[in-house]
């Protein structure tokens, strides 16, 4: 279990950019991707979304797929980001049995099936048959695996909003157990009317830009994204003299076991996840330079997470911000999006500010970073991802 695991490749597409350099540029310029609905065919025009502003055909082109019938938006986003991560790392994956893929999704192919469902149900209709078997969570993962020609272990995780943080965790465990040399880990989720309406019924969507960790926050904005990291064991890195972004130093998974959708008032599960990650990393809380919080912007999450932070860091809270104010909450992709951001933070010596913040949460008494910090050495980042069902995961990524 002592083998070290490093991040050697990054890939991302979200509302703030179609690749790593565009996303970095947006973060350095405090540019949000959340705005008016342009792509999703919904009646809820008054709810802002973090949309990737490309059509199906444009995404297919970015994914270098000539015949995109049978490819859902979730799959296309996934292929684009996974392609970039693999290319960025310089590894050869085709037919390699020692490269695994752990992907995450919550929406899966719902982005297509919600438009085609009546057609699916009509026994006479022969239209869109190629989309019937794309509804499930495994479809996007298998599309990526086929596209990259993978022969190693593949699987898909769906633990709501912590899904892709769990993908990073499982990938690291596979490497430590010598079941793979390299793992492509991450997640993909396209926007769908299903999730938009679902969150809307829960009355946790902000009709303005979300204000994570603000006293007057009212809810989240949902977004779409895919993000993948290539993680690699130390021998494999040495062997090919790989460029290393950072190290996966710790991770922790716990269940809040409080409520199907709400977090416990004191963030019991969140505390446990952070403490497990810290203890694995052998870092003390003071050594954490930056926390990329889950910070959805809902009254419930931010207070509960804030209390957990106060508890774990004994009221000496490190710099923190929620980058969901840029991408929106990208659900199953969020953990990987934020792991990519953590890698960028450490390699570019900056901390992105939490957008739209005005007032400190009274009960907490501490505030996120609100101005871009540059020329700052960030050595250890804690990244939180908490989800429905109480599924909580924390990751610690460290500069080398």
């Amino acid at each position: 279990m002592s083998k070290r695991v490093f991040v050697t490749g990054l890939g991302i597409i979200s509302s703030i950019g179609k690749n790593v350099s565009e996303v970095l540029d947006s973060l350095l310029n405090s540019r949000t991707g959340i705005g008016e609905v342009k792509i999703l065919n919904t009646i809820h025009r008054d709810i802002p979304l973090g949309e990737v502003r490309y059509s199906q055909l444009e995404l297919a082109e970015l994914a270098q797929i000539s015949q995109s019938k049978g490819f859902t938006r979730t799959s296309l986003l996934g292929i684009i980001a996974a392609n970039e991560a693999v290319k960025n790392s310089g590894i050869k994956v085709r037919d390699d049995k020692r490269t695994a893929l752990i992907s995450a999704t919550t929406v899966g192919g719902m982005c297509s099936s919600e438009d085609l469902y009546l057609d699916f149900l009509n026994p006479e209709s022969k239209n869109n048959l190629e989309y019937i078997d794309t509804h499930d969570g495994g479809d996007s993962t298998e599309k990526i695996a086929e596209h990259l020609g993978l022969k190693g272990f593949i699987t898909t995780i769906s633990t709501a909003c912590s899904s892709s943080a769990n993908a990073v965790m499982l990938g690291s465990r596979l490497i430590k157990n010598n079941l793979a040399d390299r793992v492509i880990v991450g997640g993909t989720d396209a926007l769908s009317k299903f999730t938009l309406n679902g969150f809307n019924t829960l009355m946790i969507l902000d009709k303005e830009l979300c204000k994570p960790f603000d006293e007057n926050r009212v809810g989240l904005n949902i977004g779409e994204a895919a993000a993948y990291l290539v993680i690699e064991g130390e021998d494999s890195c040495k062997e090919r003299n790989a460029k290393i972004y950072c190290e996966v130093k710790g991770y922790g998974n716990a269940n809040d076991a409080y409520h199907q959708t709400a977090s416990s008032p004191d963030g019991v599960g969140a505390c446990m996840a952070m403490q497990k990650a810290l203890s694995m990393s052998k870092l003390t809380p003071e050594m954490i330079d930056y926390v990329n919080v889950h910070g959805t912007g809902t009254p419930n999450n931010d207070l509960s997470e804030g209390k957990a932070l106060a508890n774990v860091f004994n009221n000496k809270i490190p710099y923190f911000s929620s980058t969901k104010s840029y991408n929106g909450h990208t659900l199953g992709a969020a953990g990987a999006v934020e792991a990519v951001i953590a890698s960028l933070v450490m390699n570019n010596n900056f901390i992105p500010p939490n957008l739209n913040f005005k007032t400190t949460i009274h009960e907490l008494g501490f505030s996120p970073v609100t101005k871009l910090m540059t020329d700052i050495k960030v050595r250890n980042v804690l990244s939180n991802s908490f989800g429905f069902g109480g599924n909580n995961t924390s990751l610690i990524l460290s500069a080398i």
């Binding site: 149900l121 969570g137 495994g138 995780i157 633990t159 465990r173 829960l202 069902g389 109480g390």
Partner: protein, 350 residues
């Protein structure tokens, strides 16, 4: 490190939650449905009213397994499901389409996520430990087994509750029938003699307690798991089987019993027959999908069958593909594939 199967909880189209039933049920319906228990025995009636069928089946099977294993609090809960909670998904989706995105209520949305069952079990037990859900088609249950194996090897857990579940609904059945997944209704016991493509649809939920120590409850040992994706030909499958056995320090001749995922599809079953002829002629050849139907996590039903066979050293006649019993069951291999894409190998030992 040895991993013991110390408890089972099964809800399936057969009349048993553990231990082989006296008589196996056959079906001539379009699909096989689970025989559901009286849920009031397991779940508080207030909760029960809001729960969908798969959520009830999942939590009840988990509870049966906890009782069977005499473990009150597992150190991890890991579930696998390809389609998740279809009924609630369909409910929210249809209402959303019908009402044009208005007048929706959250319950079915909340319960539509794939992790609903594992979260519900955690909630019932107030279990704060590791909690995962895998959703990769024919690799879903297999991924749980691999994860549990890693946890036990790394000394991260003593008792792990793993479960596989998938449900069938009318709509899901008719949609997937359009792409050739299912046969016209046949007698389920004649699954292998239909000579047509497609299988017979089914469903089920099966939970197991995997532990690092033997108890008087122990059914068998879970020795190994391997999955491989879209093998290009038969040789690649054989190569994977040989590698897997070597990793587990077993030879072909050590495998006395093979449980195949034969599902009656004349095309996709071919690979099972040729693997049987070329590698496992000496072994007992068994199958199980005539008892539970085809679904993505059907290998969890096979895992249960193998556990019972090893514990009681008895193979019910109905499981044999053709020949009679050739040897005592000690090392059982489960070889399953879904749509010739997701291939998996699982070994259980006495």
């Amino acid at each position: 490190m040895d991993i013991f199967i110390n408890g089972v909880g099964v809800i399936s189209p057969q009349e048993s939650n553990s231990g082989f039933p006296d008589n196996f049920k056959n079906y001539s319906a379009e699909y096989l449905k689970c025989i559901e228990p009286n849920y009031k025995d397991f779940i508080n009636p207030i909760q029960l009213r809001r729960m969908s069928r798969i959520l009830k089946m999942g939590t009840a099977a988990a509870k049966l397994c906890l009782t069977d294993s005499v473990v009150e609090m597992p150190d991890a809960i890991i579930t696998g499901t390809a389609m998740g909670c279809i009924e609630d998904t369909e409910k929210f989706l249809s209402t959303m389409i019908e009402n044009k995105e208005t007048l929706l209520t959250p319950t079915s949305f909340i319960q539509s996520t794939h992790n609903t069952v594992s979260a519900q079990v955690a909630l019932m037990l107030k279990c704060n430990s590791y909690n995962y859900t895998y959703v990769n088609r024919g690799f879903s249950f297999e991924s749980c087994l691999l994860d549990a194996k890693l946890m036990i090897n790394d000394n991260e857990a003593n008792n792990i509750l793993v479960g596989g579940f998938d449900e069938i609904t009318n709509n899901h059945f008719s949609i997937t029938k359009k792409i050739g997944w299912w046969k016209e209704p046949i007698n389920s016991f004649e699954l292998l003699s239909s000579k047509t493509t497609g299988s017979i649809a089914g469903e089920g939920t099966a939970f197991f307690m995997l532990s690092n120590c033997r108890t008087e409850k122990s059914y068998a040992r879970f020795a190994g798991i391997k999955t491989f994706f879209m093998p290009s030909d038969k040789n690649e499958i054989k190569e994977n089987i040989n590698e897997f056995l070597t990793e587990n320090e077993l030879s072909l001749s050590d495998i006395d019993t093979v449980i195949y995922g034969l599902n009656g599809d004349i095309q996709s079953d071919k690979v099972y027959y040729s693997i049987n002829d070329e590698l496992f002629n000496h072994s007992n050849s068994l199958y199980f999908k005539h008892l539970c139907g085809e679904y993505h996590t059907a290998s969890s039903f096979a895992f249960w069958i193998a556990s019972e066979i090893l514990k009681y050293q008895h193979i019910p006649e109905i499981l044999f593909v053709d020949a009679k019993q050739k040897s005592e069951p000690k090392n059982v291999l489960i070889y399953n594939h879904f749509q010739n894409r997701n291939h998996s190998l699982i070994i259980l030992r006495k």
